[in-house]
């Protein structure tokens, strides 16, 4: 359950840590109207997330409207305005651009609507002015770090050919996305922090797309051949595409190449189980959705958040062949 009273006590955690905020159950009778703004509907992960969110809210008797921002902040702002005009009781917002958060906070504050930001974290500075808003989400840097750790946990720590350095290719998501940025950065950082030497053979933009993942990986394997030891992919879709390229190139995951993704898509879990993928990182949509709803109910019940305490984190989870069974439905 999510904070009671004006001051919740958790401090913003370090990237790898997390804090679960305890508090009293909300006393607001369910049945209000909730507007949910998703940055983009055809995003794989956010689809899982919003499905969970919708289910929880409906089960609790809320009237929910979910809208698709189409990756367009202007459009999302319009949708928020329409929700305000409609007079919703609370908003759950997955902002298109965190940099626009201050404008959004302005809008909801003027209309005095309790708001939970999810998935993309606004700066503390932006949220500070409105004590009825809170962020619930994961720290993207953590997922990157976990990717790196998955490689470190392998037998050769990523240096399959034993030349003293990990040679990798990076398949990047849409680089504007904060997840893409932080995963790209922190997956490698985990290796260097552990004292490994690294060599980036190539970094290519795959826009989260499976087919692009396949083509990029196929081209890189053609160019660099056995030099490629690790394939870092910012998400599972691209990793699954890359996996096809790896198979076609006659390489064997776990033996002469490693590949990691993020998201724990069904197909990826299957691949991890079959040993075709080294590992993936679970972005725990269900827990995040539950937490978001809790916080929303808290806000409706009168909870407020003090400056600097408006971010609540849920952990990512590493998935390897050892624990993959727990996650397969």
């Amino acid at each position: 359950a999510c904070g009671g009273g004006t001051a919740t006590t958790s401090t913003p955690p370090a990237p790898t840590g997390s804090a679960v905020v305890e508090g009293i159950e909300s006393q607001v009778p369910a049945g209000g109207t909730v507007g949910v703004c998703i940055y983009k509907f055809d995003d794989n992960f956010m689809t899982t997330y919003r499905t969970a969110l919708e289910t929880i809210l409906k089960d609790k008797g809320y009237e929910v409207t979910v809208v698709d921002g189409n990756n367009d902040q202007a459009k999302q702002t319009e949708q928020i305005n329409t929700f305000i005009a409609q007079g919703v009781d609370a908003l759950i917002i997955n902002p298109v651009m965190t940099s626009a958060a201050s404008s959004i906070v302005n809008l909801v504050q003027t209309a005095d609507i309790p708001t939970v930001f999810i998935n993309r974290e606004p700066t503390a500075e932006d949220m500070a002015s409105y004590n009825k808003c809170v962020y619930v989400g994961c720290d993207a840097a953590q997922s990157g770090t976990f990717q790196g750790e998955l490689i470190l946990e392998t037998e050769t720590k990523g240096d399959i050919n034993g030349d003293g350095k990990v040679s990798y290719i990076m398949i990047q998501g849409d680089p504007e996305n904060i997840d893409a940025k932080l995963r790209t950065e922190y997956s490698v950082k985990a290796l260097t922090d552990a004292g490994m030497e690294v060599e980036q053979l190539n970094l290519t933009r795959g826009d989260w797309d499976q087919n692009k993942g396949q083509e990029i990986c196929a081209n890189d394997l053609a160019q660099f051949g056995d030099k490629v030891e690790v394939v870092f992919s910012n998400n599972d879709s691209m990793a699954l595409g890359a996996m096809e390229a790896i198979k076609t190139a006659g390489r064997t995951v776990g033996k002469d190449i490693y590949i990691v993704g993020v998201d724990a898509l069904d197909a990826a879990l299957d691949a991890v189980k079959a040993g075709e993928m080294t590992g993936t990182v679970l972005n725990d949509a269900q827990s995040q959705a539950e937490k978001a709803v809790e916080c929303m109910e808290g806000l409706l019940g009168g909870t407020t958040y003090a400056e600097g305490e408006q971010s609540i984190y849920v952990d990512y989870v590493k998935v390897t062949s050892d624990n993959v069974a727990e996650f397969i439905k």
Binding site: F41, T65, V66, V67, D68, N70, N71, D72, Q73, A74, Q76, T77, E78, Q79, N81, T82, F83, I84, A85, Q86, G87, V96, M97, T98, S99, A100, A101, S102, S103, I104, N106, T123, E125, D126, P175, E176, K181
Partner: protein, 339 residues
Amino acid sequence: MAKEAKQLNAARVKQFLSNYAIIILIALLALAVGFTRDNFFSRSNLVNLIINVSPRFIIACGVSGCLITKGTDLSAGRMVGLSACLSAMLLQDVAYSGRMLPWLPDVPVFVGLIAVLVICGIFGAINGCVIAFLKVPPFIATLGMQTIVYGLCSVITKNQPMGGYKDSYTKVANGYLLEGAVGKIIPYLAIIALIIGLFMWFLYNKTRHGKYMYAIGGNESAAQVAGVNVPATLIRIYLLAAVLYALGGFLLGAKAGGASVQTGYGYELEAIAACTIGGVSTNGGVGKISGVLVGVLVFEILKICLQFLRVDPAYTFIAQGLVIIVAVALDLRKYLAKK
């Protein structure tokens, strides 16, 4: 005689219905939503509508000139994005910690605006030159430009989303004339859109440039023979279009309070669809500013209605697609020479 008059009236009603069918349909939808949902007919919802329509109308005005000359401009959306990003870079609050250009002194809003208009205008002029002199079909020329502008925007912003605008910039989109006493009445955005609309109407109907534009759309080689400077006119059209996209992007950025390379994505298709719904013919030579406004209104009213009806977004796509097709199918009756 009497019989003929009656027939005429029946025919007129029929013609009226088919001319304005889509408007009538949307109006009916709006009425239905209004009577079944709370707050639909509210001042704030009306203001929302006006605010949503304004920048899109400006962008659609830009694209209309291209369409009237049988061209198109697929770079519109990305130019909107470029303009929003440039505006952001220039007009972030000097006190904001995440400034893109920390070395930049405080830039007055007006100067920022002029700068983005000029920069986008240059790209527009390039579009025009490629089309007029290199004879690259507009679809391809502007498709290439779309990709180039996106790449450039990606380079200059380093794919970083931007925010932290100074108040005087966001005010442009969020401010109202006559604020205070009587409440928020007339959004600045509406005034800007109105000025642009009037300007464009004047340009299209009362100036040589406008007549030349229609002439080129009607028959380019005949226009040339008649002494129209076709390349110059085309360049002016694409340049003006880009300036309008830039203005649209500037306002959109202010409205959203942030901008990134993604801003403006897909706006060109929406604008082209709106123009066509509003009766701008892709066969060239035909189209009015009032029609453009109608087209944009149809779209935006539809969007608001769907949100009020709480339609699942997947279905809103289907609804929007149908409206595009049906609107144009109904509208085209006007132009279909009777057989």
